[in-house]
Structure formats: structure tokens, C-alpha cells
């Protein structure tokens, strides 16, 4: 380039050097974009720093927003790892071509095949089960069997569930589309939505409270919310939790619907090796026990010791459907829910 004299060039380079953010250059640091909120990941990251001496930088936010940030920052993105709280977002990141495949025998042995992408772009790190919660004094466990049976007329006006805007409802329906097909799912949705006790509102804990106080008889929620209420410091939540019980649906066929929180390494990663080390650390036994202890999530492997609350719910059969399918069918699920009038 002839526009600049050599001295001007070196001056400009020096100027650029000064203003460039420092974290981009550091080699023993790993940067994470995390949809998992800070209090549910940072203690683990601190442990990782203690063990390896590597500094971990964290930004948390909503999965899609982080993915958009990652996409627009492109190859210069400072992020090394993308962490999400559902398989759908990881699938979307894979489609958006921002993750890289990692060939790691260690990770493949730690994480079962159905909880990671087939081309090794991302790995599940904890399991979240969507279960049925019922009022102990009004419903017998024997009346319950499957998600499918919740569309039966006997439950008319008795079911509470949150809005269809919630990702775990979307993935529940996406999973059903994958296993039962669209036709059956649409029929099921019609019956299920017709059984709602009230228009969907609030979060999963609100549905559990509604069951406890008699507004409805059963609710479909993620199990860790019930765990959170059982262990809550708030007396009212404990009382509500004690009035309900957990039921594992579909134990005799495809198993209870599960989603994952998981992570992948970005294409722009400056420090792939350290990022890989971090993911392996999050999948290792110590971290897996922590998820169970801290947030009542299930480990990705069966051999891991779980907390007393999880133990009290007993073992369960989880759906072995590859979680990628949840991402693949997500928009079809939403459209079906819209058509069925699930608000």
C-alpha cells in the first residue's frame, strides 16, 4: 500500500496495538457466552480456574441474543464457548455455522450419543426432565400414564401449564412430533389445550402452586422447579411443594421427555484446547454432582451420584430421542401450538 509512508504505518500499528482490548490476545483465558445464568455456572467456572489457573470470562444472556451476537461478530468474536440451556439453540448455532466439531474421545465417552450432536459440534452437560406434577389429595398416581393421555376428556378443566412461548413446552411438543408425527401431535394438542384449567400464565413454579392451592389437579413442569421449591427458604413454597407429587410419564414406552443444557466450541475460538478442557471439566463427575446438588438437574450419565431430592423421585426412563430433533422440530411445534390455540 502506497498510501502510508513506512513511519506512518508503524505509528498507526502502534496506536492500534494500544487500543486493542487485552482479552483478545491472552492465551490462558477462555471466554464464554452463556445462556445459563451466572449463579448456575460461575461457581463451577471458579473451580475450573482454581484447578487449571486459566481465567474464565463470562457474559450471560438469552440464547438467541447471544447467538446473534456471535454470528455478527464473526471470526473476530472473542467467544470461545457457547453455552445454552436447551438443545434447540445449540441446533440453531450448528445451522448458523458458528460452531466447530471437536474430535474428543474423552467427551464422547463422558456424554451419551443421544445427548450430543452427531457431528460433535456440541455436547449436553445436564439433563432437564419435563414431568407431571399432581395434587396428592385429589389424584392417584394410577390415573396417570403418559403425556398423550393428558388429552383425555377426564382431565377437562384440570390441567395447568405455562405459555407456549416457553422453550420447554416447545421442545416437549417438538419431541412428540419427532416420535408420533405431526398428525397425531395436532390431535393431541387439541385435546390437551381443551383441558386447560385457565389461560397459561406465569412460570413453572406458579403452575405447581396452582396445583397445591386447588386451582388445577395436574401440571406439566420441569422437575428442577419442584426441587427448588422443596429446598426453598420460603415457607410458602415448601408448603406448596409438600402438597404435590411427581409422576414420571411414558415409563412404559418412549420415556420421559428430556432436554439438555449444553455447550459447543465456536469457530472463532482462540483457545480450542482450553475450551475443550473446560467442557470436559463441566461433564466430569464433580461438576455433574454439582448440577444435581445446586439446581436439581440430572447428570448426563447414570453412574453419577445425585442429590437426595433427585434420589427421592426414584430412577426413571428418559426419552432416548437424539436431542437435535428438538431443535429441528421447534418451529413446527410452535406453529402447531398456535393452531391449537395454546396461548
Amino acid at each position: 500500500m502506497a498510501i502510508f509512508t513506512p513511519s506512518a504505518r508503524s505509528f498507526l500499528s502502534a496506536a492500534l496495538l494500544v487500543i486493542t482490548p487485552l482479552y483478545a490476545a491472552a492465551s490462558d483465558e477462555v471466554n464464554i457466552y452463556s445462556a445459563r445464568q451466572e449463579s448456575l455456572i460461575k461457581p463451577l467456572l471458579e473451580r475450573f480456574t482454581e484447578q487449571t489457573g486459566a481465567k474464565v470470562n463470562l457474559v450471560t444472556g438469552k440464547g438467541d441474543a447471544l447467538l446473534t451476537r456471535l454470528k455478527s461478530e464473526g471470526m473476530n468474536s472473542p467467544a470461545d464457548v457457547l453455552l445454552t440451556v436447551d438443545a434447540g439453540r445449540l441446533y440453531r448455532a450448528q445451522e448458523a455455522n458458528v460452531l466447530q466439531a471437536i474430535k474428543s474421545d474423552e467427551l464422547n465417552s463422558l456424554i451419551p450419543g443421544h445427548l450430543r450432536s452427531s457431528d460433535n459440534q456440541w455436547y449436553g452437560l445436564s439433563v432437564r426432565a419435563r414431568v407431571i406434577v399432581y395434587a396428592k389429595n385429589r389424584v392417584q398416581a394410577s390415573q396417570l400414564s403418559t403425556y398423550e393421555a393428558l388429552a383425555d376428556p377426564e382431565w377437562r378443566g384440570k390441567i395447568c401449564v405455562r405459555s407456549s412461548g416457553n422453550i420447554y413446552n416447545q421442545s416437549l411438543v417438538a419431541g412428540m412430533i419427532a416420535s408420533q408425527g405431526m398428525m397425531k401431535t395436532e390431535g393431541w394438542l387439541k385435546g390437551f389445550v381443551g383441558n386447560f384449567a385457565r389461560p397459561p400464565a406465569g412460570g413453572d413454579r406458579d403452575q405447581i402452586k396452582a396445583v397445591a392451592s386447588g386451582q388445577c389437579d395436574i401440571a406439566v413442569v420441569n422437575s428442577y422447579y419442584l426441587g427448588g421449591m422443596i429446598l426453598s427458604e420460603d415457607q410458602a413454597q415448601q408448603t406448596a411443594a409438600s402438597k404435590v407429587a411427581l409422576f414420571w410419564p411414558n415409563q412404559k414406552d418412549r420415556g420421559t421427555h428430556v432436554n439438555i443444557s449444553g455447550a459447543g466450541i465456536t469457530k472463532s475460538a482462540k483457545n480450542v484446547q482450553l475450551a475443550e478442557q473446560l467442557i470436559a471439566f463441566l461433564a466430569a463427575n464433580g461438576s455433574q454432582e454439582w448440577y444435581a446438588e445446586r439446581n436439581n438437574e440430572f447428570p448426563v450419565r447414570e453412574a453419577v451420584k445425585v442429590s437426595s431430592v433427585l434420589e427421592s423421585w426414584g430412577p426413571f426412563v428418559a426419552d432416548k430421542l437424539n436431542v437435535s430433533e428438538l431443535g429441528r422440530n421447534n418451529s413446527a411445534a410452535i406453529m402447531a401450538m398456535d393452531r391449537a390455540g395454546w396461548k
Binding site: 457474559v59 441474543a65 455478527s72 468474536s77 385457565r198 402452586k209 406453529m335
Partner: protein
């Protein structure tokens, strides 16, 4: 802004057909109802509060005149959480009712808080201070002569309000209500929590759920066109009307309320403040009192510092740009300028996340171009210079909250007749002297108000901060959101309460100087 409108040029995907067939009507009706409800709510609450404290005299007026501003410090999503905690079916109130009267579910009627009506109430309760603040200033700045003339002509105080004071305060009322409405349109937290499918939740559903970023941006573009049309319609309807005041700064005598009137004023005013602030703040305090000792630590103070300094920087930047724009508009009031100012103020009606993405994409592109040039010319990679820094965050706040500052400065500036400038100039004053001796003293209230509004807004702001912030940078709003989204309201109460309290500081500091404006010697 351009990023969003550019989406209109892209082909409309099949997702539109689906939206038309199923949920679009719902989105539009709900949003319109919400706007109508909040419009009426904030208008009634804001104007009555302003009238009571500006024009009437009764015991407790002074306290009420700043207490009316308190709800402003309360983010809408937080008030929604607290009221749900109190009024929900499984909340303490209904449980107590059931226990007392042995009722079961379905035995009695109780309004459902998580509904469209509930959302209207929540938003009105926290948004009316915008109307109150601006209208109160307008009332105080109104020519006493005109008001007195009205009374001397035998009009009752009520008639004076409706025939003289309100029409004269129209720019302020419009500015206040439109701020409230824009905030309503941009609100995501409250409506999403209440399960009301509004246009905004629709935008997110289309983006997050269907993965259709383009369709979501198109929806958003339509939202902005709608807001733009509203602003233009309002401008057009008051076309050549001017609202300058011709007042000698004569002290006005407040209408003294006696007996039941005074009691009514106190109880209405007190009720508004109670519902908008005291009740929810008490609930927060009760929640926060569980385990606060372990939660107040170094980390918590860092959050306080981050939130406070970020809000202060953004407020100052916003004010500077707003003043610049307002003066440009005043000096060269051509149609095009008006249009540009109107467009710049659209940002407020757009959900924060959309602004964030609209800022993120072009800036990251620019960063990458700079990096590319630098790499090819100097063989040195700059990385991303602006993306992921506080600078980008402040820029995004500027885009989003400019209209808050601009509306306020602008409505203050319209009150200064251009002829005042002309007389001053013809008497030999330099432009800078006109500015410092005439404009600044008159505008002081408006400037402080603008500063305060932006400060509180940024403090409460969530989605933009969440997406654009640098690594390891947290604010109180982020912490509150994370805990609340995990349905841990009790843990979220402490940072939420801190937002409210920090928000109170400037409210109290600045209102002192705003409120003592004209009746200082009483």
C-alpha cells in the same frame, strides 16, 4: 433503525401466512387494548396528581408532590412480580380469604391479576409519573394571568382545568402519554409474565421460537411505522398551534382545599403512591429480608457501582445529544428536520432487544471491516474495537432513550418564544449570552427532568444491557432478571430493591430543585 427497515426489503417468508392465520389478530388487538388502557390510566393518574400538587393546597401536598414520582423507580416487571406474589390465587390474600370463609377454588370471584387488565394496571401505576412530571411543569409554567382571568370570569376551578389549563398543557400531556405508550409497546417483561400475547411478545416468539429473525424484524418495522404515524398524526392535529406562555413570573395563589375535599385529595394521592410504590416496595423488602446478610457482599457493591455509573454516563450523553437536536430543530424547523427528530425518537417504542440487535449488527460489521483493513495494510489484527465494550452499550442506550430526553427538552424549549431570542439579540446580546442568561434558567427544570428520566430508565434497562455488555460486567437489573427468570423471586428481591433505592436518589435530589421552582417562598 435502518437495519430494521431494511428488513422490509427482504422477501416476506411463509411465516407471515402462519401468523396471519393464527395469532396476528390477537397480537394486534391485545397491543391496542393495552395502549388504550395504559393511555387512559396514565392520563387520569398523571393529570390528577399534577393538578392536585400544582394548583391546590392541602395538608401533605409537599410530601405528595415528590412521593408521586416514587413509582418511577419501580421497573414494570418487578411490580408485576410483587403484585402476582400478593394477589395470585395461591398468594397470601386469596389463601387468607379461603381459610377464613372455607371457600374452595371456583366458589368466589377474584380478579385475575395475570391478565390484560392486570398488565394495564401494572403499567399505568409505574408509567403515570412521566405524565405527572411533564404536566406538572407545564401547569406551573402556565401564565397565571390566563388562569386568573378564567377564574375572574366566573369559571369554577374544574372548568378552569378543563377549559384553560389542560388545553394549554397539551404538548406536555402528549409528550408524557406518548412516552408512557412507547414504553408500553416496548414492554416485554410484564406482558410475557402475565401471559398476554402482545405484538412485542409476538416479535420475540417469531424470532426465538420460529427462528425467523427477518420476519421478526419486519414485524418490528410495522410497529415502528405505526408509532411514526401516531406521532405524525399528533403533530398534524396541532399544526400551527403554539403554546408559548406570556407570563410575568407572578406568584400564583393555590386553590385551598378544605374539609372533605382536602381529605379526598389526601386519600386519592396517598392511594396512588401506596399502590404504585409503598405496597410493592414493602413486599420486596419482606422478601429481601430473608438471607440479606449473605447476599450483601463485595460482589453486590460492584453491581451497585456498575449500575450507577453506567446510568450516569448514559444520562449525560443522552442529554447532550438531545439538547443539540432540540436546538437544531428550533433553529431550522424545516419539515425534514421535524421528520428526522421524530424518527430519532422512535427508538423508545422498540423493545430493547431489537435495538440491541439493530446496533450490534452494523457495529460488528464495522469492526470487522476495520480489522480487515488493518490486517491487510498493517498485517495487524485489531479484533473488535467497539463491540463488547461499554461504549457500544452507551451508544445503544442513546438510540433507545434519546426520545425521552428529547421530548422533555423539546417541550421545555417550545415554551420559550422565539421572539424572546429576537428581542434579546436586538438588544445586543450575543447568542451565548441568550443561552446562558435566558434559555438555561428557563430550561433548567426540563434539563434536569430529562437527565433524571434517562438515568432511571438506564438503571432499570435490561435487554440491551444483557446482550451488549462486556465480559464479567453485571448490573443490578441483570442480576434481578436472572434470579427472577429462574423463578427465585425471593432472591431477586434484594437487587430489585437496590434498583428502586438508587433510582430514588436522583428522584429526590432533582425533584427538590424541580419542585421549588415557582412557589419557593411559601
Amino acid at each position: 433503525m435502518l437495519v430494521i427497515f431494511a428488513s422490509l426489503l427482504q422477501p416476506f417468508s411463509s411465516a407471515w401466512q402462519h401468523l396471519f392465520d393464527t395469532v396476528l389478530t390477537d397480537y394486534i388487538t391485545n397491543s391496542l387494548l393495552l395502549m388504550a388502557g395504559v393511555g387512559v390510566g396514565t392520563l387520569v393518574l398523571g393529570v390528577s396528581a399534577a393538578w392536585l400538587t400544582a394548583m391546590c393546597e392541602f395538608p401533605g401536598r409537599k410530601i405528595l408532590s415528590w412521593a408521586f414520582l416514587l413509582p418511577m423507580a419501580m421497573p414494570a416487571y418487578i411490580i408485576a412480580y410483587t403484585y402476582t406474589g400478593i394477589l395470585d390465587f395461591s398468594g397470601p390474600l386469596q389463601t387468607a380469604l379461603r381459610d377464613t370463609y372455607q371457600w374452595q377454588y371456583g366458589d368466589y370471584y377474584f380478579p385475575q391479576i395475570r391478565s390484560l387488565g392486570g398488565a394495564i394496571c401494572m403499567l399505568s401505576l409505574v408509567l403515570y409519573p412521566y405524565v405527572y412530571m411533564l404536566v406538572r411543569v407545564a401547569f406551573l409554567e402556565q401564565s397565571t394571568a390566563v388562569l386568573e382571568a378564567s377564574r375572574n370570569l366566573g369559571k369554577k376551578p374544574w372548568q378552569t382545568l378543563f377549559l384553560v389549563a389542560l388545553p394549554m398543557a397539551r404538548p406536555a400531556i402528549v409528550a408524557g402519554v406518548s412516552l408512557a405508550l412507547m414504553e408500553t409497546l416496548a414492554d416485554y417483561g410484564t406482558v410475557a409474565y402475565f401471559g398476554v400475547s402482545s405484538f412485542t411478545t409476538g416479535i420475540f416468539r417469531t424470532w426465538y421460537g420460529l427462528g425467523e429473525l427477518t420476519t421478526a424484524a419486519q414485524l418490528c418495522a410495522f410497529l415502528m411505522l405505526f408509532v411514526f404515524a401516531l406521532i405524525m398524526a399528533e403533530r398534524w392535529s396541532r399544526q400551527r398551534l403554539r403554546f408559548h406562555h406570556h407570563s410575568a413570573q407572578k406568584k400564583m395563589v393555590r386553590l385551598r382545599l378544605k374539609g372533605w375535599r382536602s381529605a379526598l385529595a389526601i386519600s386519592v394521592g396517598g392511594l396512588i403512591v401506596f399502590l404504585g410504590f409503598i405496597l410493592p416496595a414493602t413486599q420486596l423488602a419482606i422478601w429481601a429480608s430473608v438471607g440479606w446478610q449473605e447476599n450483601i457482599n463485595g460482589d453486590f457493591f460492584r453491581l451497585l457501582f456498575n449500575s450507577f455509573s453506567l446510568a450516569a454516563i448514559a444520562a449525560i450523553c443522552c442529554l447532550m445529544v438531545a439538547v443539540f437536536l432540540a436546538y437544531t430543530k428550533r433553529a431550522f424547523a424545516s419539515r425534514m428536520e421535524l421528520g428526522a427528530v421524530a424518527i430519532a425518537s422512535l427508538g423508545y417504542a422498540v423493545p430493547g432487544t431489537v435495538i440491541a440487535v439493530g446496533v450490534l449488527i452494523p457495529v460488528a460489521w464495522l469492526d470487522n471491516q476495520i480489522d480487515f483493513l488493518s490486517t491487510t495494510w498493517f498485517d495487524y489484527s485489531t479484533g473488535l474495537l467497539i463491540s463488547g465494550t461499554i461504549g457500544l452499550l452507551v451508544f445503544a442506550y442513546l438510540v433507545r432513550f434519546l426520545s425521552v430526553a428529547l421530548n422533555t427538552v423539546d417541550s421545555g424549549l417550545t415554551a420559550i418564544k422565539p421572539s424572546i431570542d429576537e428581542s434579546a439579540r436586538s438588544l445586543g446580546a450575543t447568542p451565548s449570552r441568550v443561552l446562558s442568561r435566558i434559555h438555561l434558567p428557563i430550561l433548567r427544570t426540563s434539563l434536569l427532568t430529562a437527565l433524571l428520566l434517562v438515568f432511571v430508565e438506564v438503571l432499570k434497562e435490561l435487554p440491551t444491557t444483557l446482550i451488549l455488555r462486556p465480559f464479567n460486567f453485571n448490573t443490578l437489573a441483570v442480576r434481578t432478571y436472572e434470579l427472577a427468570s429462574d423463578e427465585r423471586l425471593v432472591d431477586a428481591a434484594l437487587p430489585a430493591l437496590a434498583i428502586v433505592i438508587i433510582g430514588l436518589l436522583p428522584v429526590l435530589l432533582i425533584t427538590k430543585s424541580i419542585l421549588n421552582e415557582r412557589f419557593s417562598n411559601e
